[in-house]
């Protein structure tokens, strides 16, 4: 089965999954207990006003008409209008989207680079005290939810030592520069990014440590490692040129999968550090019954997750020459 055919197959699955995701989204927000108006219309409006608002947002047509209209909007990237901001959802979300991507991107990069190296080390020193200690640390990190890590870091580094700001993306009052890069490369941004990114890094570091360790142990038991040792290669060469290179293969898939899942997790970190990202926006809009914004944020997050899953399937094929998939 050639590579192209496999990627084509995975692409068809992607479209199918994406279509199903959009439909679920549509159904979820449309068919809710009680009357939709109770969800997002400010209380204290008279019956007539409520009907007018319904009409304005086209919620009185039969469901399937709404559905086609909804799909049409999505294809043009129009996520509808937010009630709270009274502006296009997509305009507000674009900035927040990148805030989340930068936050999770940094924490995952830190988590995986340290995690893989530490996991590889644990796999190599199998059966020693260091391994037991490393495993213990890995398990502790894995069993504490993001907000607990966040709060601990907050109380230590912010309240006690005051090294870092409590939250937010920039110093209060500083104006956000228009162009994209200067916003994200300024020192104040990094200064604010430190704590939330560290929280994410600690939370997401546990998995690569444990996975890399078991993957290393598997590889080290295989025949070719014994041959490489018999060849008189230095243990450095055996570990890094052969053992780690083979153990990285399964990690590629996991990295992409977890990157998708971490988008969901950003909610909690952004809430603890009031980081203006998609996640926090979604929680706020749900609290304030602003359903288009909530749906828009949810749609963006879902798209990132599905895309990442697709990349996960493809990544493995490129890295492992023997896999002509299926």
């Amino acid at each position: 089965m050639s590579m192209q055919r496999f990627i084509l197959r995975r692409f068809v699955y992607l479209l199918f999954t994406y279509w199903a995701f959009i439909t679920i989204l549509f159904i979820m927000f449309r068919i809710t207990p009680g009357d939709p108006t109770t969800l997002y219309v400010v209380e204290g409006m008279t019956k007539a006003e409520r009907l007018a608002t319904l009409q304005r947002y086209g919620l009185t047509e039969p469901l399937h008409v709404q559905y086609i209209q909804y799909i049409g909007d999505l294809l043009q990237g129009d996520l509808g209008e937010s009630y709270r901001y009274n502006a296009m959802v997509s305009d507000i979300l674009v900035v927040k989207f990148w805030n989340t991507i930068f936050l999770m991107g940094t924490s995952l990069t830190i988590a995986y680079s340290i995690g893989i190296m530490f996991g590889a080390y644990l796999g190599w020193v199998r059966g020693t005290v260091q391994e037991k200690l490393g495993l213990f640390i890995g398990l502790v990190f894995r069993s504490s939810p993001e907000f607990w890590i966040g709060i601990v870091l907050l109380s230590v580094f912010v309240f006690e030592l005051g090294w870092f700001p409590w939250g937010g993306i920039k110093a209060i009052g500083a104006e956000t520069s228009a162009d994209f890069f200067s916003r994200y490369l300024s020192t104040s941004f990094l200064y604010h990014l430190a704590m939330p990114a560290l929280t994410g890094a600690i939370y997401y570091m546990a998995q690569p440590i444990l996975l890399m360790r078991s993957s290393m142990i598997n590889v080290l038991n295989s025949d070719f490692i014994e041959i490489k040792q018999a060849e008189g290669l230095s243990s450095f060469q055996v570990i890094y040129k052969h053992a780690v290179r083979n153990s990285i293969l399964p990690m590629a898939t996991v990295i992409a999968l977890v990157a998708g899942m971490s988008i969901g997790g950003s909610l909690v970190i952004e809430t603890v550090f009031s980081w203006p990202g998609m996640g926090r926006e979604m929680v706020e809009s749900v609290h304030h019954n602003d359903y288009p914004m909530a749906m828009g944020a949810f749609f963006l997050m879902g798209s990132v997750v599905i895309l990442m899953n697709f990349l996960a399937d493809i990544a493995y094929v490129y890295l492992d020459p023997r896999v002509r998939y299926d």
């Binding site: 059966g127 041959i227 008189g232 060469q237 083979n246 492992d320 020459p321």
Partner: protein, 361 residues
Amino acid sequence: MLTIENLEVHYTTDEGDVRAVDGVNLELDRNETIGLVGESGCGKTTTAKAIIRLLATNGRIAGGSIRFEGTELTALSDRDLRRDIRWNEVSMIPQNAMNGFDPVYTVGQQIVEVIRAHEPDTTKRDAMRRARDLFEELGIEGDRIDDYPHQFSGGMAQRAMVALALSLGPSIVLADEPTTALDVVIQDQILQVISDMQDELDSSMILITHDMSVVSETCDYIAVMYGGRIVEYADARTIIQNPCHPYTLGLRNSFPDITAESQELISIPGVPPNLIDPDEGCKFAPRCPFAQDECWEVTPTPEEFGEGHIVECHRAEEVDMLQTEAAKRETWVGEERDVGVQRDQRRVRPVETEQDSNSHE
């Protein structure tokens, strides 16, 4: 060239120390081939791997000496052993060549890697050319050095592995069941290729296998191993035609010979010995139909019978009686001798690598 004197290798397991090799003596001279024959758990692979100290993490050389060209290998530091002996002087051919290569690098890259690891001043281009020549000599097209291991068939992968093993012109090649996983036609070709290259490079070989017919055709000397010791050692013809130890006789009886007109296969009852702190006495006693009290108490010492024919058995002198009796079926398969009798013996499988379930023991 290589002398091994009462070598002992132990594996530590939670149930106690497995004495996988329990006092082995062996001599190997230049351009000579010795066959280590025996069944699973008899210590043949461990003995060979102990030479280049390639033991599992829980294995260690507990005693005895291994001298190669005068230098004592067990005393060498890891670094020296790795730099001067491994692959330089002693290389290895594994059973399953496909798994012997790293799947994510091409075969050529892996040969170049080992050449440059031992000869840092050889350029990549020269090393690749040497790999290409080796391939041609072994009957593989030169430009297949850029293929990945999984693109090779069973036979071709084994030829590539022979190329890798001979890439530094070693003095000794350890072949661990090199053809067991192959079909008979390809097996024949591979054995032919190995012996041709051996003569050309003037190197000697230790062939590890359970297949008596392969050994009788390729080896000059044969050492039959059981329970971690060499029970009989002689030149190939003597071991096949005039064996003396009951275990060797039993092995001959259970081995189907394609030329024999009508041959009745007779099996050896019982199960392989338990190597965890074994008590004194001959390890084959529980399965040996000629065992006497002496065999159960005193470990037999190897004695020489005729020129270079060493046997480790208390009743070795009664060789004629042993040979005539062993040929009869009832000696081995009497009613009470059936598998059931051995039930009480605590049976723990030794930890040795040759124990993995997919090898054709």
